[in-house]
Symmetry: C2
Subunit: 325 residues, 2 copies
DNA sequence: AGATTTTTTGGCAGCGCTACCAATTTCAGT
DNA sequence: ACTGAAATTGGTAGCGCTGCCAAAAAATCT
């Protein structure tokens, strides 16, 4: 293996000189620079960041602990973050919790062992032990895509509660009164649960009851949205609008209606959440709320890179009227 | 910061004893084990893997360099790989190339600085310099989702060429003769280009010409599939079947037909590639080819973890008849 | 030319851990 | 109790790099 010492020897200079040249830090003459670079090229030297990190403290590693990769939402956040991190010479490390707080705890512990600059997590719901570790670690913590709770350090996203409320408000203003809900596992996906809570609260405040609901036990998917709506309608045929836990679910519902000739939104209105691209290309664009997923990742990364003080950044959301409600 | 030395002191034992207990390696009495663990708990010690790796060589870091996170395909591979890696105490590190070989080169260099156990890349098309670095690094290399080319070390996936050929064969057997293609940037997505090549070859062998094609310059998306089909049909209205570069594109085409009342497959047949879940929930399930994406990630990770000898693993693919062709 | 400042350079002590080896303790077996 | 083997333990030399400091070289000024 080629080490810095070998490069130094080959170039006929000291180790620290090579180190300075490679990091372009401190001073050195043009001549030695060329000599060093020549040796680096010739030997095919690749610096060892493990050693570099150990010697200098800053790891420039950012840990992303996300609930799922199936859900595009987190892939979007990852994408936003990794773009910014790359620009500033940081490395993204990630793992997937499957929406399981215990697993999150284990993964955070594993991540902390790499002494990351920052750890990014989804939401505010963590085990006690996770919080304790994070606090003790001294590294920056960013909680993403949720604002309804208390932040540990940095938080970037939007209020799910408010998004749910805005969705309800929209449906009410459109005159829908017999409203149902098709959702997925609320214990795991606490952000979806918060949206639903905000949604019901707003309905309640308007004196409109939630007529019926259908909860799929597993993760959200197009198929569970489809079958969920099917079951809901079988039980309560006279609904005039359905709120879905997210766009994947809503698309499933939309396909169900298409397949069964249920006129949308005349006979039944559909409302989703997330504003996925695909929902804008369907024959009728999906009525939904567009969430700032990529930007959330970007802003989170920027804050970490800049070592910004603790703060909560509300990126808001945007209601897309669409044509399904 | 709590270090191993402090734990050793607190527990009244030597450093190496703590190290052995923590790694559960070598021998130690139950009594000292308890004493060490008590100190670890009390001080909230988290081992430093940076130091550990430097001291012991094996990093247990696996680098994933993928073209895109927008395309679910790679998120699936990531998911498959990260599941297996986690089980065996490895860490996934990733970065995104945006289908740019130059960027891939830069990212591979950055990854190699972490001395990963293995580097996983998409496909066989890499710059000369990338190949050189990879070779020199001594770490395992896995090339994913492509078999049409020469592997550097390990390769896991399926033949895109064969998938394209199978798609053409299917359409021909169904009797379609006026066939068109809607695709995306073939210079970037070389695997899509290989599918298209296999597709045309098979058509050609049957004496059936490819009537027309529409290539979108950017990345694949539902919207570019929709607009691509729209343009294709405007130019060549009498097509009876269209092959798409992937399911996202095909879904866009499907939506276009739905919106314009074009009967499927009576008037126009559609065929995609990937076998995404969503394509099975549309009113008419999409005719497509299901690719082993998650399994590709899993097998790749297993091979790396087991330090298997160089080999090529063909996971094959499965044609889904669906109802759109 | 000599003195002083500035730039460039090399040496070396860690960073926190693991691997190896030698020292110590424990445990059987006589 | 005594010996050899087995089980435990601690000491210490790195892993490859960076940061600090002092030495050397070059540049600038009397």
């Amino acid at each position: 293996m080629v080490t810095l010492a070998k490069v130094a020897e080959a170039a006929g200079v000291g180790e620290s000189t090579v180190s300075r040249v490679l990091r372009n830090h401190g001073s050195f003459s043009r001549k030695t620079r060329d000599r060093v670079m020549e040796a680096v090229e010739r030997l095919g030297y690749v610096p060892n960041r493990i050693a570099g990190t150990l010697a200098s403290a800053g790891s420039r590693l950012v840990a992303l602990v996300i609930p799922s990769l199936t859900n595009i939402v987190f892939a979007d956040v990852l994408r936003g973050a990794s773009g910014i991190l790359e620009e500033s010479q940081h490395q993204a490390v990630f793992s997937v919790t499957d929406y399981d707080p215990e697993k999150e705890e284990a993964l955070v512990a594993a991540m902390l062992a790499w002494r990351p600059t920052a750890v990014m997590l989804a939401g505010f719901e963590h085990t006690e032990s996770t919080v304790k570790m994070l606090r003790a670690s001294g590294c920056r913590v960013v909680e993403l895509l949720d604002l309804d709770g208390t932040a540990l350090d940095l938080a970037v996203g939007f209020s799910n509660r408010a998004a749910g409320a805005a969705s309800a408000d929209f449906l009410l203003r459109r005159g829908y009164r017999r409203i149902g809900y098709v959702g997925h596992d609320p214990d795991r996906d606490t952000r979806a649960a918060k949206r639903f809570a905000g949604f019901r609260e707003t309905l309640g405040a308007a004196g409109v009851p939630l007529v019926d609901r259908e909860i799929h036990a597993g993760a959200s998917s197009v198929e569970s949205g489809r079958s969920g709506l099917e079951r809901l309608l079988a039980r309560t045929p006279d609904l005039d609008a359905v709120y879905f836990s997210n766009d994947d679910m809503a698309l499933g519902g939309y396909f169900h209606c298409l397949a069964h000739g249920i006129p949308i939104p005349a006979r039944l209105a559909l409302f989703g959440h997330n504003g996925l691209d695909i929902g804008r290309v369907t024959p009728q664009p999906l009525s939904t709320i567009r969430t700032p997923r990529v930007v959330t990742g970007q802003v989170a990364a920027e804050l970490v890179v800049a070592d910004a003080p603790s703060q909560v950044v509300d990126l808001g959301f945007e209601l897309i009227e669409g044509a399904t409600a």
